[in-house]
Amino acid sequence: MHPGGAVLQGKMNRIYFDNNATTPLAPEVFDAMCPYMVEDFGNASSIHWYGQRAKAGAEKAREQVAKLLNARPSEIVFTSGGTESDNAAILGIVGAARADRRHVVTTAIEHPAVLSTAKALERHGISVTFVRVGSSGVVDPADVAAAIRPETVLISVMHANNELGTIQPLEHIGQIARERDIYFHADAVQSAGKIPLDVQKLGVDLLSLSAHKLNGPKGVGALYVRKGTILRTLMHGGHHERDRRPGTENVAGIVGLGAAADAAVGNLADESGRVAGLRDKLEAGILTHVPYVAMNGDRAHRVPNTTNLTFGYLEGEGFVIAMDLRGIACSTGSACSSGSLEPSHVLTAIGLRPEQARASIRFSLGRFNTSEEVDATLQILPAVVEQLRAVSPHYHAPTTAGKR
């Protein structure tokens, strides 16, 4: 066996700090799913016993998800994940709207699932306003209000930003939407399981979430649709999900989402404090022991698990690889845009220059991280940064930091 093999075979003690990309499946979620992949394999639409077993599993999950959101079970539509939920909400509202309501308001820091959908709308003659954010990474509700026009049909704002972790003032925006009689959609993929979610308080009509971001399985998500909201469906098929989403239900996945939602409801109070403690320890350790590091986004208004740091004189891509070779997983920006030439649209939206955006690293923690892992990372990270900076052509004049 050669040393490379050890890495791939996982013998190195690996540390996973990329929970905003995806999370490991929780053991209780796995246990809940297993029967629906084996004995309870029925089609949830079938009349017989098998079908009824599957249906019961899915309906229990619907209640669990509804409870996480403070919604009614009938308002939960299961989908294939966050991207489908976002598409179904945005295209669904615009598709069902009156012909004179052809304007959408969203923000410049949305996930590509919303941003690309909004840009697709533009190509079909719908006008879209992308509200900008300041260096805090938090959108100002007054800017959202100012973007509204008589023909505005939908406001779509994410709850927590995937790269910065910043929490958007949805309650306030929800009030504005209600007063102006405009549909309000929130992409809550990055907040679900991290902070409390209450669709009544937030004032949303539609809300997207994804199971694999809260220790559930990949390939399943949900869309909350407030009672009375009329959507045009994306796909055509059978009468599943009350005619809102055709296709045989992914019962095992749905059960997994339900179990993950249930665990989140139970653990949230304790977990968010614990994870915030780890995140703060990691962040403070880096800021103390590594020179030329700056934190991005509003420190007070962010989910407990995320920190985004710009390392001066650093190639982000090289850093992520160097860390991975030492067994620590973190990321530059979001996994959905890695490999692309463009620097992160979120980081440039908060005013970072392209080279600063490329030197920015996201650490996102989760339920299975420990204090020992933070300590081990703080042992390794300063030397990795030094190794990269030593090769950087710019790292000879530290006194000019910030003026580059």
Binding site: M1, H2, P3, G4, G5, A6, V7, L8, Q9, K11, M12, N13, E315, E317, G318, F319, I321, A322, D324, L325, R326, G339, S340, L341, Q387, L388, V391, S392
Partner: protein
């Protein structure tokens, strides 16, 4: 970690990875790995979709060229097969700046450039080496058929062509600095292509039977003219078609043309002029926007100037030497006198006239198997 392998997804670099991974049979100690595979993402083939027509498969992406998705899949499959860590690094921006733009600009200036040498000097042995060192690799290895020797007496590195005479890739490496040579390894330098295939087969590499790609990697159709046109269109730099003249060597106007970038020295077809005898492009005059054509025998010239010379074996201005000089990758080379000049220039004087000495191509000077240096052909004297 000691070495990073530049993996293109082809059989050569995959075999390099296999050879190096096989050398590291020590028991894992939980420390960082010894070999890591890296693929450089240099150009996005989907960027100029109009070029994909002929090559596009069902999914609409080019296949069988460097940086196609298939090549990344192949490289990843080999790394996975060898059980070495593997990453794709994005160098598209640097590649466009250092290779693609100069390539297009050279054509617009009437030259016939060869992008691979610049890619080696500016990307593979510069940016790539930097990234490799950043992630903790002390050295890089590539699948070039060339050899590096350390001259202990002078404390310098020498560059030799590979033992496979049919695969002289030292030609493309004349621009390497001592620093770059010191950190590079060419494990295929002592092997023939047949031996490399045999190793790939014996190891069961998934790319062992993959065919060779001969084209310029970022030109998916093999037509550089289509590429230049599409790229200039995307950049909104497409020049107004400037009608120019095709003239004979004695100054007679024979026809018109729509742009000097469509011509290359030695070209016979598509000249739009006929005089009975076969005509060839003898030279291109960008200042007058003229293409000069004539007999085959007029293509044979002896003396030319070279710019941006890199001396791997140092030479001072005024020094001159006998060398074997190649003016194209597939040129067999011929005996010449090379004189080093100031400002990185040199003048080459072949003992026998050579056909189609072409501005923009690389002239590389050899002493036997050793590359003494080389530069870019700038002017026929």
């Amino acid at each position: 970690m000691s070495i990073a392998v530049a993996m293109s997804g082809g059989v050569d670099s995959s075999t390099v990875a296999a050879l190096l991974a096989g050398n590291n049979s020590a028991i894992a100690s939980g420390s960082a790995p010894e070999v890591v595979g890296l693929t450089m993402q240099l150009w996005n083939q989907r960027r100029l979709p109009q070029l994909l027509g002929a090559e596009a498969g069902e999914g609409g992406h080019a296949s069988g060229r460097c940086c196609s998705l298939d090549d990344v899949y192949d490289a990843r499959a080999v790394a996975s097969f060898l059980n070495i860590p593997y990453y794709v690094i994005n160098l598209e921006e640097q590649f466009e700046t250092a290779v693609v733009r100069p390539f297009v600009d050279a054509y617009l200036a009437g030259e016939t450039p060869i992008p691979c040498s610049r890619c080696n000097t500016e990307i593979k042995f510069a940016q790539f080496l930097t990234t490799a060192r950043q992630i903790g690799a002390e050295r890089i290895a590539t699948g070039h058929y060339a050899r590096i020797r350390r001259d202990a007496q002078r404390g310098r590195y020498r560059l030799l062509r590979g033992v496979d005479r049919t695969k002289d890739q030292a030609y493309f490496l004349f621009g390497l600095t001592q620093e770059q040579l010191a950190h590079s390894e060419f494990p295929l330098g002592e092997m023939t292509k047949q031996e490399v295939r045999a190793v790939a087969r014996a190891r069961g590499l998934p790319v062992a039977e993959k065919p060779e790609s001969q084209e310029i990697c970022f030109v998916p159709t093999g037509s550089y003219r289509q590429f230049i046109d599409a790229y200039l269109g995307e950049q909104q730099r497409r020049p107004e078609p400037v009608a120019g003249e095709v003239v004979s060597t004695d100054g007679r106007v024979l026809a018109g043309h729509t742009g000097i970038q469509n011509f290359t020295v030695g070209q016979r077809k598509g000249l739009g002029a006929a005089t009975g005898a076969p005509l060839y492009v003898i030279s291109i005059d960008p200042a007058k926007n003229r293409v000069v054509v004539g007999d085959d025998c007029e293509l044979f010239r002896r003396i030319f100037r070279v710019r941006d010379v890199n001396w791997i074996r140092p030479h001072s201005p005024g020094e001159s030497m006998e060398a074997h000089v190649k003016i194209r990758h597939n040129h067999p080379g011929a005996a010449a006198r090379v004189e080093a000049h100031e400002a990185g220039e040199a003048v080459v004087e072949f003992h026998e006239p050579q056909r189609a000495i072409t501005p923009g191509q690389a002239a590389v000077f050899y002493d036997g198997d050793e590359v003494i240096g080389g530069g870019w052909i700038s002017k026929i004297l």
